[in-house]
Symmetry: C2
DNA sequence: CCAGGAAATGTTAGTAACTAACATTGCGTC
DNA sequence: GACGCAATGTTAGTTACTAACATTTCCTGG
């Protein structure tokens, strides 16, 4: 039900923000500047994005991931279920990764504060995975640890992908990360 | 070389902060209030702690961890080296965990923003582990993923310990977390 | 005991990310 | 073309944090 006008200003804000961030750096860019560049006031910015960082992130894949984890056979250990679930979710519905995505990740990857904020998002994903596991009888501690480990690994891979020059696809990094958590050592 | 006077005000600030946080919540407590409670100005607060959150955290164990990881046999896979290193560092020099520590962790555990900030600290630890692994010839990607996975698991265990009522020692949670990453399934 | 100097703290003024309350403008519908 | 609601603007705050400079406190040597 989002109005087309709102959607346009939202996109404009995102584009201007990305441009300014790459041009002069994240910290050196103020919300006021972004808003002005997009032709709106700073209040409008905050109506579309709750925080300055949120203009860089968006990640509506949580339900998908939860489903993929839930679909794993319950006789596997929790860590393995999360590992296969994440891998499966990725290969089933690979999110679009374009040049803009890369730019966004790059900005985040080199900025400790932003990486931390990105982790805040991860926490929501973690919650979702934990619930999926607990629904199958796993204890909360085991579930949280399994989710934390896998997401920690994926986050690390994401940051690496964002800082390297090499133009391998993000998917390759994700697969590497998850394979490393394979107790069998995975395919060699 | 820290002067005794400075050390005392630092401690006073920490104590007052903890008290106010537990009494009225982290967000509802202003730095000004903490400073006033400690009998100093807000500038003094920031001279001792770079940010508001930093009054809750401190974690000078990075060198220890790096050493423990470095000491692992290099023919083990990276993840296993980190896993054993962290487990070893913990059992070798368990940090003092008192009621105050628990209070601090509790405050952090229920506050998403604070958890994210705590992750910012983790990143420094991650860096240290990555360097230790790379010194033994591991690729940066593999090293980062191994460190990210283990720290993600430990972080998850820490948060669980901070939110549960059960008074099991933190060490038990850490061991559980690391055991879950054991590819052999660990001791049953 | 007191003077000198450095470390710790205070004062003041400023920036930037947010928030709340209320006014205004644009845009589709009847 | 008026009406009504969503999107935006204005204004005035609060709070974390920084910089520059003034002041106090405390230790040390004479």
């Amino acid at each position: 039900m989002t109005t087309p006008r709102a959607e346009r200003t939202r996109a404009r804000l995102q584009a201007c923000a990305l441009e300014l961030f790459t041009a002069q750096g994240y910290d050196a860019t103020t919300v006021e500047q972004i808003a002005t560049a997009a032709g709106v006031s700073h209040m409008t910015f905050f109506r579309h994005f709750p925080t300055k960082e949120s203009v860089l992130v968006e990640d509506p894949y949580d339900p998908l991931i939860a489903e993929a984890v839930r679909a794993q056979p319950t006789d596997l250990p929790p860590l393995e279920r999360v590992r296969r679930g994440l891998l499966g979710a990725w290969s089933a519905v690979p999110p679009p990764v374009d040049a803009e995505t890369r730019k966004r990740v790059s900005i985040m990857a080199v900025h400790p504060g932003l990486r931390a904020k990105a982790w805040e998002n991860n926490q929501r994903t973690e919650q979702v995975i934990v619930e999926a596991l607990m629904a199958a009888g796993t204890s909360r501690l085991e579930a949280t640890v399994a989710a934390g480990a896998c997401l920690g690994a994926i986050m690390a891979a994401l940051v690496q992908w964002g800082t390297t020059d090499d133009d391998a696809p993000l998917g390759a990094y994700i697969v590497t990360a998850m394979t490393q958590l394979d107790p069998t050592g995975g395919p060699r």
